[in-house]
Symmetry: C2
């Protein structure tokens, strides 16, 4: 297995892009990543996407995107793992390059969610849950997360407001990210007064959907590199699975797939959690921030909210998270989200994170969650 | 890149499995492949599937299948490339093992197509075409293939009946395959009198859809092997793309993605077309058999039907094709088809092809086509 580097990154802003189609978004991000890498050709294009069939009536997305990028006859297909589709596409690109079968791979995450009614989009998102044992009862994704959060509050004795720091931090960072969907800071008062969506999850616990695309060019680390900016290596790349249905888990408050994939990524990188400088986690709902921090070894079981309350998740603190706004403020174009996280890690490592730049950013971690924890991919990137 | 072997194979019969769900079919084929490999655990599960979101309201299929196979927390996700999803999943499994990142990978192709109306299924299949430039005009997949066949007949001066040998051969072989959807031989009279579907494609030019799953276990070739039967190596694994829309191609009668992927696979295997003993091609429509044979170097441009008319495609002849019935008679459960082809190649190489066993089967090729030629994967397998 040969080591892999990220040579280029690109992204569109997350928003309601009624003026741009699915293929336009993917092409824009892909070309940006290739331009950033200084390359006009790639050998393979792996597209992370969840909903193109349901919301755009378009499958065979790999070939479509490769063509619109001008990359025919490059190898290309779509990779799907619900909201973890983006990181799954990056995983495939990583394996393609690490195997030696491909020398230049492009991973693109793309999603187009706002051209349909919110009912259609909600129903489409529910296909990430177990169709026969969850979906059939009419439970939505917010509903599943609300059940988990309710149980967590009960089990560990936290109040709803103890989760406020996660959302406040994400919005503070998103306010300084020009690609974020929500660019307004929020206060604790805003958080506690936000409209209820599905008790105990209110509007400021939940991430907004959106249209968007993000992309990265992967090459062998041995490839000559002559840029002035830092070179970024993939130090750990792993994914793991859990049951699709939440009720099938022995412990619904532990993200075992996060635990397994993070442990594997740490081992590959030869690092401990304490050596991770920042963490782009999957804050689709604020409860997920707590569970992710715990499963990855940054907090004891049931103690995730403490990191927020102690201010340790903010920029320049012990473990900055959601440094460009996270899913909560940058937005959650589901199949693209994992790629946004990885692009943001690269921005930090290169010192290109603008007003959100961290002083210490040598090792960054990204974690992308598909479904309510069924498929979780963890990547560790570091400056070479 | 380390060489890869196929250690186990499994399949369900192709049919209308109203008694079995999507997950049941995938599990049945996956467990059969693991049993055949003598393994109870795999590290990764890659699921090839096209339509689970549209027809079963189920995405996140990788995690679901891994769980039902008892393989949690194995890495798992879905790979989609329209009708080439099966071979694309095998491609990912190949890269996973060849990279050294995974030591035992399971590729499963699965599709469930008969629980919905034929209108729903036809509309879902159309998502493999270009949604904005083909689908929007109401053209179906049969329609696109009919346009291509009509042009081919005009351009090269063949009659419709010249394609009869492709269907007759497939049905003759399918009649002896207990897993085939259609197990009745057909005559030339049947072929010429078959009901017209979309002129010039009649019912016996077209493959039947179906429910089904097929699977294979991939391991490093260096792994110790103590079975009495032949060991099967992956000698070539490649895929390539063309435009999604047929009208965007300079030459709609040439499968350039078949040409590119086959050329790459030949180079990897160090073989010429003349050294391929048999060929499981993608006979979704009889015109595709001709185009595939031409693009892969088995026939001159415009001369594909000649191989059928001269009887060279039949069992024990120069280049047997569709040896277990092909898509035409074994059936075409779209996302599973590519895996059926690969499983059938392994059956032949091992001498386990039953009444359809070839005398000479040392090197076999499988080619899986997604869309009307937009994504094509070619694999060459050989006896070690």
């Amino acid at each position: 297995m040969r080591p892999v580097a990220v040579l280029g990154i690109g992204q569109t802003a997350v928003g309601e892009h009624w003026e741009r189609s699915l293929r336009d978004l993917a092409t824009q991000a892909g070309l940006a990543a290739m331009r950033d890498a200084g390359l006009e050709h790639v050998q393979a294009v792996f597209v992370g996407n969840m909903l193109s069939g349901l919301l755009t009536r378009q499958e065979n997305l790999g070939a479509l995107v490769a063509d619109w990028l001008g990359q025919r006859p490059a190898e290309a297909f779509k990779v799907e793992a619900a909201c973890a589709s983006g990181a799954a596409a990056f995983r495939v690109a990583h394996m393609a390059v690490s195997s030696g079968e491909v020398d230049v791979a492009l991973a693109v995450g793309v999603e187009k969610m706002t051209d349909t009614t919110s009912g259609e989009t909600t129903a489409a998102l529910a296909t990430a849950s177990d169709a026969d044992y969850e979906l059939v009862h009419g439970v939505t994704f917010v509903g599943l997360n609300a059940l988990v959060m309710r149980r967590y509050l009960h089990e560990f004795g936290w109040k709803h407001t103890d989760f406020a720091p996660f959302s406040i931090n994400a919005h503070a960072n998103g306010a300084r990210n020009p690609n974020a969907r929500l660019q307004e800071p929020i206060s604790e008062r805003d958080y506690t007064r936000a409209r209820m969506v599905c008790d105990p999850i209110n509007l400021l616990d939940a991430s907004p959907i959106g249209d968007g695309a993000a992309a990265a060019v992967l090459v062998p680390a041995e490839r000559a590199y002559d840029r002035p900016r830092a070179r970024v290596l993939v130090a750990g790349s792993a994914s793991a699975t859990d049951t699709l249905a939440v009720h099938d888990r022995k412990d619904p408050l532990f993200l075992s797939a996060a635990h397994h994939s993070a442990r594997k990524a740490y081992a590959q990188a030869g690092l401990e959690p304490s050596q991770i400088d920042f963490f782009e986690l999957h804050d689709a709902f604020s409860i997920m921030s707590a569970l992710s921090l715990e499963a990855c070894g940054f907090a004891e079981r049931g103690q995730g909210p403490r990191l927020g309350l102690e201010g340790r998740i903010r920029l320049q603190q012990a473990l900055p998270i959601s440094t460009q706004g996270g899913l909560k403020a940058r937005g959650h174009p589901v199949g693209a989200t994992g790629m946004y996280q990885l692009v943001e890690v690269v921005q930090q490592l290169r010192g290109e994170a603008g007003p959100n730049q961290l002083d210490r950013a040598r090792v960054g971690m990204a974690q992308n969650i598909g479904g309510s924890g069924a498929m979780i991919a963890t990547h560790i990137l570091r400056v070479a």
